[in-house]
Symmetry: C3
Subunit: 244 residues, 3 copies
Amino acid sequence: MNNFIAKSANIGQNFSIGHNSIVQEEVKIGNNVTIGHNVIIYPFTRISNNVTILDNAVIGKQPSNISTLTITIDKGLSPCEIGEGSIIGTAAIIYAGTKIGKNCFIADLASIREKCVIKDHVIIGRVVTIEYETTVGEYSRIMTHSQMTGNMVIEDHVFIGGAVASTNDKYMTSGKWKGPIIKSGARIGANATIIGGNTVGKDALIGAGAVVTNDIPDGKVALGVPARVIKDVPIDPAVSNQKK
Amino acid sequence: MNNFIAKSANIGQNFSIGHNSIVQEEVKIGNNVTIGHNVIIYPFTRISNNVTILDNAVIGKQPSNISTLTITIDKGLSPCEIGEGSIIGTAAIIYAGTKIGKNCFIADLASIREKCVIKDHVIIGRVVTIEYETTVGEYSRIMTHSQMTGNMVIEDHVFIGGAVASTNDKYMTSGKWKGPIIKSGARIGANATIIGGNTVGKDALIGAGAVVTNDIPDGKVALGVPARVIKDVPIDPAVSNQKK
Amino acid sequence: MNNFIAKSANIGQNFSIGHNSIVQEEVKIGNNVTIGHNVIIYPFTRISNNVTILDNAVIGKQPSNISTLTITIDKGLSPCEIGEGSIIGTAAIIYAGTKIGKNCFIADLASIREKCVIKDHVIIGRVVTIEYETTVGEYSRIMTHSQMTGNMVIEDHVFIGGAVASTNDKYMTSGKWKGPIIKSGARIGANATIIGGNTVGKDALIGAGAVVTNDIPDGKVALGVPARVIKDVPIDPAVSNQKK
């Protein structure tokens, strides 16, 4: 086994752990938790009942500070929390100060920085990156390879396709950070780009490869580079599929 | 060394293994196999002769099931198989139910889900993701950072550039999954997007950043957002380079 | 602890190391170096003073050779070098033959292949990939999820947004490799694509999602697919911000 479990860690009943994993000081683990091989759990992390953490995941790490960075790192972060029934994928990385809700699925190689709030029933795809202080609402799904910037607000039942990019600095290097807002029920096509400071409206639909450089009103379809509104979103079962 | 090798694992001659690696129950390993450090090989995986598996790779993992997911996970998967002479990169992840052919190169941080078939002489670049039930034909190459969706068919001698995205749900959240088909010899430019249900024809060429929303005929060049056919692919050595 | 440290490794003062890490033969480590858990450092790697290497990082690995690859791998590489004060992120991968400068920040899951030169004060974001023989100048920043091709020249104070793609083979599979050149102070928007053989001029600004298929002159703004020059870059503090 060769696991390292700190004496001050508080472990619930029916605990399973693989080989070479590390559970550090003051970690609190609920009942029926399964931890894979080579997992690293940083001090003070709180893991609820029925959570699964797969191989090579790193949970609760502190952000790094270096003078080269343009944002200031907050080291006084609250512990990372993983909500009941959630699954953390292989080699996923979740920072301190971030809270994952219930029944979330964080896929392999995803990484989520500090001070994010991921609400219940969210799916974060493989290799997705989420920067600092971003919120993802209930039942939202962010597909494989998407890159979500800092200070972004993603509301409930949002669908973000694969390989979507986003920015929080409209002119790059301006130093004024403002992530996009994606309103409830909006859908963003694969490989689209959402520029900082803009809002994608409720139930709006952004086409694949579009570049959103302005606000998109509620319920509209927008396509192209730059994205232009072309029509209303058709009333179809697809939207209601998201809400069930 | 501190490796864990299950007693029921069947290991061939001239076997090399690093530190902290895990070879689980009933794994079958051929001759002249090299395994790095921190590698995890799940039960029943079959590794042929002359295979190299680099550090931190995870081979043969089962998919995770969670009620939040929109597809049903099949747990009765056949073992993961790695064909003769193939190399699996650092921190690559390959699921159970997937078969990698001979002389393939799966680069660092690539991940391939369940029920995929990767035929012989294929190159999968770094950080590439391939979803479930996708087939990649002989001598095809998928470059760094591309995201290949589920139920996709990539035929032989296809070239997929870096950071290409693809979808298998034309309207997002419709619940009807159909991956694109990329016919033999086609080439897809970097950062292009291929929408589900469409076919890119034999020897066709898709420009960088194009968004393919319709079928592209054999031998045509298509560019733009959305992609429009502009001319025939010139007869040049580039295509035949792929076929040698 | 269960670390493996080769007897021939040369370790400086005030050295800190986690669990399950591997420091191989002839590695040279300066003073005040911190190494996390599960880190793998390959033979002959040189790590300067005040460097931090986070969990699961792999430093100094050799490239793999396989007949399927189109480039020839050079195995006679000089050791990997990590400059003073730099931080290497969780699960980052840096190859032999590559040199990282002083005060660099290489974020989680980034990977940098052989023969690259990363100069001082550079930031490489999460999941960024850099291919072989690419140079990144002082104070340049490459944001999350970008994919930088081989033989590319990125000069000083360049800003490359998130999810940018680049190629070094204009026609794909032509076999003539020539990476783009990004001149000093240029800024590339998120999800843009830079085609091989082209130069982005000094202080030029490329819009998000643009596809650069020709040279872009110094100080110009270029947008769209394909990218067209539309105006001069406005004189604003943003550019000078890069130069301080």
